[in-house]
């Protein structure tokens, strides 16, 4: 069997080449493959009948317990025979159906053969997973085949619809398969059916399998893809949508019926949907004017009947079902082929435009009539035999009202079949008194004429005739059929062995058949009336439109979800993450932790004031609309924290906190100059409150963590030994500082490296080409330059002033100081409007004091509050003051040094200390304590970590300088080049104005 599948695959791969070489005749060559397969299957008949059909097992994916296992039992054999035989016939038909010049035949032929192979694989596979693989392959191939006329929109849509529905069903089936395999411990069909598992999960699995079958076999309520799929070329309709693919669902039901037919949900589903489809399909087939659609709805109807029969679970029904499968495959394929002939002969499939076709094409008409006779169940055709057996089967179990209903349903469905069958024959072949005009043709005068009939090749009619005659032939030997099929029927749990026969005597079934024929014929002759009633009866809920609406809803839903969750707004995203934090760990905190038994609210009332400041400013910051305001409020809350530190007796932390806040604030302001003043231009009334709520929630959650975490602490804090170690090894009394430069010196080392990288990053981003630009010494300032001049043209007065100041700079220094009262060295480079005498004077007074203070902090830091970090920040703030007072040239004058130099030296110093101590003591970064007697000064306590601290100091100064030079000076310069007003007050000025 594997070799047959491989043959199909090879044929499919070769098909395009063959088509290129031989044209459409290649289909004849390709037909050999399924024909050979059918011949082989016939040769296996006796073995299958004996019950020892061939079995093949090849290990494929042992890890997934997926084997290539095939088995040929009665059901497989029968289905495989249908698939291969009709496949061969259809391929022969293709050879003359397509125009010799038709495009895309190569691909079409390949896919059709591949489909035949997949279908064969599906029915002979003995492994559920393998079966699923083939199942999905048929879906994909059918998709390609339905979409063959890719340039037609209807075709594309139908293909899409078919694949969406059948793949969905396929996946449902996969879940069922997995559950079943899991429950049974094997994926082998034969083993599973031999010992079917039970339980709720298995029931669910069985229903899921049914879902797969329903989608594939186009049962209600998912039947609508099948009529739409009629957009495919007719051979495809004949093969996929009559004989093969749609039968896959029937096969699946038949395959699992022996194991699950007894389950309540299974039976309910099968009976309700099977009979429902039978009736709905038949009813809708009556209404169609397109011959292919008549057949399509007829197929829906028949498939419902088939699923009902094979799923019912009695032996009689199963036998009838199999017989019906065979009969249906033959007559429905034949009918589709006939429609194809009519279509190609007349150019239309609209039965209202056809007239006299039967006379023109007698062979075709003969095939069509024979096939229809089988379909409507006239003796002595296969359809009759099967339907008689089916009626017998449903009559046997006539006990409850449900059974009665079933009988009525089947009879009604059969009557509908008779009606639309007759209407089909009439529509296709009869000579009618009047026809409707061609909608595409130009307006004609007089009576509209029927579509003209041309003569297609006779080869086209033979396959249809062969199939139709086959339907007659097999019916003449019903006992043989019964003998072949009953081994499968015998595997079903209930009922007695059924029989296939042409004449069973005057049984109730016979009378029902007569009644059915009578009603059907009556309905056909009353077709005008029926169609009027049908038009009157409005069906409020059509499955097709429900599907379309569902898909549209899904699209809308997706769009809404996208709009909701993916709005591209960073605050929204951050808000989502924060909310997740509040909800997930927050709920754990509330539900699963013990709150501290006793909470001391404050040590002294001043803390309450600090808390009030922090909380108020944080809340205000969260709801502020202007960036600057938010930044300042954040700063305020930072200062509040510093107050906390101070009140807790940590002056060192407080000092550092204040300095950091100050520097941060200034850097923020520098950056904000180039950013719009408001977070958003839109009024934020509502969203501000939302933001506030998120912020408060996040704050409460984190606050809660902070409250809970220390209370549940069970381990000793690592810092418990710090005070003692700091003094003994680090030689200092300021624990914070010693921790920085000694105990945690490695960390500090890493941190200052990061500082260096960050500073370099900021500078490179702003300066672009070089690490940093010029130093902006005052001498470089060209005479006309006016820093922060803004856009306003210089007035006469200011120009005069500037000329004077330039003149002043050029004068000798002695003269300068004596006459012009220059407080800061580069003040003159500033636009006069930007100068502030008070600021300059204060700067003059403060700068050196601050530097001195920084030096003090640096050296006293080991024992008192201070240290390199704080000292560096103080120097940084001093530089900032100079920059703010006098612009970039003032900064250049204050620190005429490249920040890179400071950064490098700093890191070198710190690392050097580590290296030296490694050389001296064998441990890196270990402090050496040196006590010296210095004349005059007395005893000097000296620790080598001071050098380390000095390195930290230099790095921090370098960082601040770098930021000032890039975010301050360089942006000023670029702004001036671009003609923008970017003075330090720009952000506020803009803000105030708008």
């Amino acid at each position: 069997m594997l070799s047959l599948l491989i043959a199909h695959a090879v044929a499919a791969l070769l098909a395009p080449t063959l088509v290129r070489a031989m044209g459409r005749k290649a289909f004849l060559a390709l037909a050999v493959v399924p024909a050979v397969a059918a011949a082989w299957l016939v040769s296996q008949t006796s073995a299958v009948l004996r019950g020892d059909g061939p079995v093949e097992v090849v290990r494929w994916v042992p890890g997934l317990s997926m084997d290539l296992s095939f088995q040929l039992d009665t059901l497989s054999w029968f289905m495989a025979l249908i698939v291969t035989a009709i496949g061969a016939v259809v391929l022969v038909y293709c050879a003359s159906y397509f125009a010799a010049s038709a495009a895309g035949l190569g691909r079409f032929s390949a896919v059709l053969v591949a489909f035949a192979g997949a279908m064969l694989g599906l029915v002979v596979a003995d492994d559920m997973l393998l079966m699923f693989v083939f199942w999905e392959l048929t879906t994909v191939f059918s998709y390609l085949l339905i979409g063959h006329y890719a340039d037609r929109k209807a075709s594309r849509r139908a293909a899409m619809q078919a694949i969406v529905i059948t793949t969905g069903g396929g996946l449902a089936m996969l879940v069922g398969v997995i559950i079943l395999g899991d429950a049974a411990g094997t994926y082998r069909l034969s083993e599973l059916l031999a010992d079917p598992p039970a339980g709720t999960a298995v029931t669910v699995a069985a229903v899921l399998l049914l879902v797969g079958a329903i989608t594939k076999s186009a049962l209600i309520p998912l039947h609508f893809w099948l009529p739409a799929a009629m957009a495919a070329p007719t051979p495809v309709s004949a093969y996929l949508h009559a004989a093969a693919m749609v039968k896959a669902g029937v096969y699946l039901v038949a395959r699992f019926a022996p194991a699950f037919a007894e389950l309540g949900p299974w039976r309910t589903t099968v009976v309700a949907l099977g009979l429902g489809s039978l009736l709905v399909g038949g009813y809708r087939a009556l209404r169609q004017n397109d011959l292919k659609l008549v057949l399509a709805f007829g197929t829906v109807s028949q498939l419902g009947f088939l699923v009902f029969l094979v799923g019912l679970g009695t032996q009689q029904a199963a036998l009838a079902g199999l017989a019906m499968i065979g009969a249906h495959a033959m007559f429905k394929a034949a009918l589709f082929l006939v429609v194809g002939i009519v279509d190609s002969a007349t150019g239309t499939r609209d039965l209202r435009r056809l007239s006299g076709v039967g006379k023109a094409l007698p062979v075709t008409a003969a095939a069509g009539i024979l096939a229809t006779a089988s379909m409507i169940g006239l003796p002595p055709f296969a359809g009759y035999v099967a339907k008689e057996a089916a009626l017998e089967a449903v009559l046997v179990s006539g006990e409850t009202w449900v059974d009665t209903l079933v009988v009525v349903g089947v009879a009604l469905g059969s009557a509908l079949t008779v009606a639309y069958g007759l209407r089909f024959v009439w529509g296709a072949f009869a000579t009618k008194s009047s026809v409707i005009p061609d909608p595409d043709a130009p307006e004609e005068d007089g009576e509209p004429r029927p579509a003209p009939v041309s003569r297609p090749a006779l080869l086209l009619a033979w396959p249809a005739l062969a199939l139709a005659v086959g339907g007659l032939a097999v019916a003449l030997v019903p006992h043989y059929g019964e003998q072949l099929l009953s081994p499968y029927a015998g595997t079903l749990p209930r009922g007695e062995a059924g029989h296939l026969t042409l004449w069973a005597g005057f049984t109730p079934a016979f009378f029902i058949t007569v009644a059915v024929l009578a009603v059907g014929v009556g309905a056909f002759f009353a077709r005008e009336l029926v169609s009027r009633v049908q038009t009157r009866l409005h069906v409020p809920l059509e499955a097709d439109s429900v599907y379309r609406r569902t898909m549209r809803r899904l699209d809308d839903l997706a769009a809404d979800v996208t709009a909701l969750v993916q709005r591209g707004s960073l605050p929204f995203y951050v808000g989502a993450i924060l909310l997740a934090v509040v909800v997930l760990p927050g709920s754990v905190m509330v539900a699963r932790t013990a709150w501290p038994a006793e909470v001391r609210l404050w040590d002294r009332p001043a803390q309450l004031a600090a808390a009030a400041i922090v909380v108020t400013s944080a809340i205000l910051a969260a709801r502020s609309r202007r960036r600057l305001k938010a930044v300042i409020l954040l700063g305020v809350s930072g200062f509040g924290i510093a107050m906390f530190f101070l009140l807790h007796g940590a002056p060192d932390l407080a000092l550092t906190q204040i300095l950091v806040e100050t520097v941060t604030l200034v850097v923020f302001v520098l950056v904000l100059r180039r950013i719009p003043p408001y977070f958003s231009d839109r009024p934020l009334a509502a969203s501000r409150w939302v933001r506030l709520a998120v912020g408060v929630a996040a704050g409460l959650a984190v606050g809660g963590f902070a409250l809970v975490a220390p209370a549940v602490r069970v381990h000793t804090p690592v810092s418990i030994d710090f005070p003692q170690e700091a003094y003994a090894y680090g030689g200092g009394k300021n624990i914070v500082n010693v921790a920085l430069v000694d105990i945690r010196a490695w960390d500090t080392m890493g941190e200052i490296s990061v500082l260096l990288v960050a500073a370099t990053g900021v500078a490179s981003l702003v300066f672009l080409s070089r690490r940093s630009g010029s130093l902006f010494r005052a001498e470089e300032a060209d005479g006309g330059a006016a820093v922060w001049a803004g856009k306003e043209p210089a007035s006469g007065v200011t120009r005069l002033q500037r000329a004077a100041s330039v003149h002043a700079r050029q004068a000798s220094s002695a003269e300068r100081y004596s006459r012009m009262r220059v407080w800061i060295r580069a003040g003159a480079t500033l636009a006069p409007g930007r100068r502030s005498v008070i600021f300059e004077v204060v700067t003059r007074l403060l700068f050196h004091v601050m530097i001195l203070y920084a030096v003090f902090l640096l050296f006293s830091g080991h024992n008192a509050p201070g240290g390199g970090f704080a000292a560096g920040l103080v120097v940084g703030i001093a530089l900032m003051v100079r920059y703010l007072a006098g612009g970039r040239y003032e900064l250049g004058e204050a620190a005429p040094v490249h920040p890179g130099l400071l950064l490098g030296t700093g890191l070198f110093l710190s690392a050097g200390v580590g290296l030296v101590s490694l050389l001296l003591t064998g441990n890196p970064l270990r402090s050496l304590l040196i006590d010296l007697q210095v004349p005059l000064l007395g005893e000097v306590h000296f620790v080598t970590s001071l050098f380390f601290d000095l390195g930290v100091f230099l790095v921090v100064v370098g960082l601040v300088l770098d930021i000032l030079r890039s975010l301050g000076a360089e942006i000023d310069r670029q702004g001036e080049l671009a003609g923008q007003d970017v003075g330090p007050g720009a952000a506020t000025v803009h803000g105030g104005g708008s």
Partner: protein
């Protein structure tokens, strides 16, 4: 203070050391090798390093699987089966992804900005472009990122985990901002990624702190041991685990921590998108599986509600939102979110089969992802102006892909294959991946998850197939005025990558057995 020097297994850390070392050397190359020779030097270095790393990983496979792995650096670096397997996957996929980096196509430009720091639209940028500058920093950056990934999957303690997470994230933040075209979008993406990523890192760190508070140790094994012995602190433990997992959820792009994914995937240069879509997710899942399986088992009942919620949300949101996308990269981004959900389903199997299935899925997903994004790099917009037709950036709008199957059947065929694999159609690797994951989860009792997963897969088929339909069945749009679409010729690298990915996807679909068996050996975590 007595101090035991940590045991260093040089062979075991060699792949990691080689990759990181190459990154460092790459930086020096940038500084000292003349501009003309830089690209070649970088490429030779990178590929040599990756191949060497791969060989070393292969060399230790047998021993590692036999011994169950080694614990190095006092348990900080655990080279066990899963770690080695994921490292191997990462290196293989990186070779492919970096090859796409290197492709200059027939246009003669790579996908990276000539001067990434320049203000978009400035004269400076224009000057750099006209001078034909090329940045080759992407190679060392990619190496650093990969180094972080190799480390994170073997991280035995939370600090190493955090450091590795940062090491893998930082280079990606930068790489994201380097797109040659649509600079503003790229920079915005980079900024968003950085900011949101920082939040996630902070949460992870917070979680690590809580876990330390709970157990007094940062080692996963010791935390796991503590779960059984310490009572009364479940709040810390669960809170910590939750925060830790949130950090990792962020990296894998699980809902509701996925917000960055689409923007970043779209904004980043497409080769980088392919790189991070595949490798970051794999690395983060590697870490997550370790955390969940080492610490999690005793917490299974407590963690499951959250993990299930996230998994279901991820699958559903990823799929539903992907349905309406009109941009190829964005659609792939959402599909990658959905895939994160599928992998989570495998993680939730809480069994060794679950681990193997996750490993397999990641390989499969990574291959198809890199392949798909590689295809995207070749489909370009054109503009016909006075001076002839100019080839611009990628044509990512879906409508622009109409009719691609007729003009470039092989390229469209490859992409279709990747899409079918994403959709999980049988005989593609994606099916085997989904199947293993779902089977493992069903065995582990997570049947509802499997059902949701299957439904999501079914819905996902829709948008994958839609693109295939578009490429093959929809006629090409009429050229509207000056705008057009063309397929540029790869300079070789991308073609090879697409071919390898396609062959791999088919091979793993038809014969997943050998790889599944191989990965089946690698399911034992060192405590």
């Amino acid at each position: 203070m007595s101090y035991a020097a940590p045991h260093i297994g040089w062979l075991q850390i060699a792949p990691l050391a080689i990759v990181l070392g190459t990154g460092l050397v790459g930086v020096l190359v940038e500084a000292f090798v003349p501009r003309r020779a830089r690209r070649t030097t970088q490429l030779v270095l990178v590929f040599a390093a990756l191949v060497a790393a791969l060989l070393l990983i292969v060399a230790q496979w047998r021993d590692t699987m036999a011994s169950g792995g080694v614990s190095l650096f006092g348990g900080s670096y655990l080279l066990d089966g899963p770690a080695l397997a994921i490292q191997g996957t990462l290196v293989v996929l990186s070779i492919l992804a970096v090859a796409v980096f290197a492709d200059r196509t027939s246009v003669g430009q790579d996908a990276f900005a000539p001067a990434a720091a320049a203000v978009p639209g400035s004269d400076y940028e224009e000057l750099a472009r006209r001078k034909g500058l090329e940045q080759t920093e992407v190679y060392p950056l990619a190496m650093f990122g990969l180094g972080g990934m190799l480390l994170i999957v073997a991280a035995g303690d939370l600090l190493t985990l955090f450091v590795a997470l940062e090491a893998l994230s930082m280079p990606l933040y930068v790489l994201t901002g380097l797109a040659r075209r649509r600079r503003l979008l790229s920079q915005e993406a980079s900024l968003k990624y950085l900011l949101l990523g920082s939040f996630a890192s902070a949460l992870l760190l917070f979680g690590a702190a809580l876990l330390y508070g709970f157990s007094g140790s940062l080692h996963l094994g010791e935390i796991a041991a503590a779960t059984g012995t310490i009572a009364g602190l479940e709040g810390l433990l669960l809170g910590g685990m939750t925060l830790l997992l949130i950090g990792l959820f962020f990296k894998v792009g699980a809902v509701p921590f996925h917000a960055w994914t689409p923007d970043v995937y779209v904004g980043a240069p497409t080769p980088v998108t392919g790189f991070m879509a595949a490798t970051t997710k794999i690395a983060a899942f590697g870490a997550m599986v370790r955390v969940v399986y080492v610490v999690g088992p005793s917490l299974q009942w407590d963690l499951e509600p959250m993990l299930w919620t996230v998994a279901i949300l991820t699958m559903v949101v990823g799929t539903v939102v992907a349905l309406v996308q009109t941009d190829v990269k964005r659609m792939l981004a959402y599909s990658s979110i959905a895939h994160a959900g599928f992998v989570l389903v495998g993680v939730l199997a809480f069994s060794t089969e679950g681990i193997a299935s996750v490993l397999f899925y990641l390989v499969v997903y990574g291959l198809a992802t890199i392949g798909a994004f590689a295809v995207v790099t070749l489909v370009r917009q054109t503009r016909t102006g006075a001076e002839g037709t100019v080839i611009l950036g990628e044509a990512t709008h879906l409508a622009q892909w109409a009719g691609l199957g007729r003009r470039s059947p092989w390229l469209a065929g490859a992409l279709s294959l990747f899409l079918l694999s994403f959709a999980g159609i049988p005989l593609t690797a994606g099916f085997a991946g989904k199947f293993t994951v779902f089977t493992a989860a069903a065995d582990g009792g997570a049947v509802p998850l499997v059902v949701v997963g299957v439904i999501a897969s079914a819905a996902a088929v829709f948008f994958y197939v839609r693109l295939i339909v578009l490429m093959y069945f929809t006629p090409e749009r009429e050229e509207e005025g000056e705008e057009g679409v063309t397929v540029v010729t790869s300079s070789g690298f991308t073609t090879v990558v697409i071919a390898v990915a396609a062959i791999g996807t088919v091979l793993l679909g038809v014969l997943p057995g050998p790889l599944l068996e191989l990965l089946g050996q690698a399911v034992k975590f060192l405590p």
